[in-house]
């Protein structure tokens, strides 16, 4: 069976790549994409954890949590993308650094 440490390594590195994407990219779309990556990283960990749980009966909590994260991702992307559309209509660009009107 696959030792759990590998799964940790995988999800962790995926998470960090997603994080780098969020921080580095200035285009809102790319930020949303890297956000998706981070979500996937977490989900892998959930599934692995429930899989390696030593309870006698089969433990399906991980998959139920996967369901929840899935709905979360879906709704989050829906709102995110409508914001992207909205922003594009208003500013004709997607550079997030230019959006600092909230400051003053």
């Amino acid at each position: 069976m696959i030792p759990i440490s590998w799964v940790f390594m995988l999800s962790l590195s995926l998470f960090v790549i997603g994080l780098f994407g969020v921080l580095a990219r200035r285009n809102l779309l790319f930020i949303l994409i890297s956000l998706e990556l981070m979500l996937n990283a977490v989900v892998i960990l959930f599934i692995a954890a429930s899989r390696y749980h030593s309870a006698s009966i089969a433990n399906s909590d991980g998959q139920i949590m996967y369901l929840l994260i899935l709905t979360l991702a879906a709704s989050e992307i829906a709102v995110g993308l409508s914001l992207v559309v909205h922003m594009y209509r208003q500013h004709h660009h997607l550079d997030i650094d230019k959006l600092n009107k909230l400051r003053d």
Binding site: N27, I33, N40, S60, Y66, A74, V85
Partner: protein, 186 residues
């Protein structure tokens, strides 16, 4: 025999995931990024299969890769950014601006690695033993879902509804007309 085959498959898919993830975030063209993302999603569903969560894998392919990524592509097509966005992208994202991001994420990466593997795990709760081999069928998930986790279903339904409403509201409001008038007389 079966185990080391599983291991190799796991390693290959993990490698695919990481490479395509890297490619998604470094791609200049949005569509390329999206396609790499779809590849990542499929590889992840393969991981689920390896881990025995077949229902999750199926969902991953259908909803995640199928629905959400398609939505993504729709939106990028709608924005029809064209050539100038590529050039813009090139100047928006290049090595010098992302140096701090790189530094921060790598710091976080090493700290997590260090914390997970190098710190002396106290023996009490590290009894990670071999995974139980019982197969989890969809029926089990169904009974669990409508048994103890019924509340979860309600919440996710509510969340989806609220997302729906906000998405409609934001994209519907005729904001573009006012901005234009203001932009003209600036």
């Amino acid at each position: 025999m079966l185990d080391n085959m599983l291991n190799t498959i796991f390693i290959i898919t993990a490698a695919i995931i990481l490479i395509s993830a890297l490619l998604t975030i470094t791609a200049h063209n949005v569509v390329h990024a999206l396609l790499y993302l779809v590849i990542t999603m499929l590889a992840v569903s393969l991981i689920f299969f390896i881990l025995g969560a077949s229902f999750a894998a199926a969902l991953q392919i259908i909803i995640y890769a199928g629905a959400i990524m398609v939505l993504f592509i729709f939106v990028t097509m709608m924005l029809h950014q064209g050539e100038k966005s590529l050039a813009q992208e090139r100047h928006l994202f290049h090595f010098s601006t992302s140096i701090t991001a790189l530094f921060l994420s790598s710091m976080l990466f090493f700290e997590l690695i260090f914390m997970l593997f190098l710190t002396p795990t106290d023996s009490a709760n590290s009894r990670v033993t071999a995974p139980s081999s019982a197969i989890i069928t969809v029926k089990d998930i169904g009974t669990q879902l409508y048994g103890p986790y019924s509340l979860l279903v309600v919440i996710s339904a509510l969340m989806l509804l609220s997302a729906l409403i906000t998405a409609i509201h934001i994209s519907k409001s005729p904001v573009t007309s006012e901005i234009k008038t203001k932009a003209d007389n600036l």
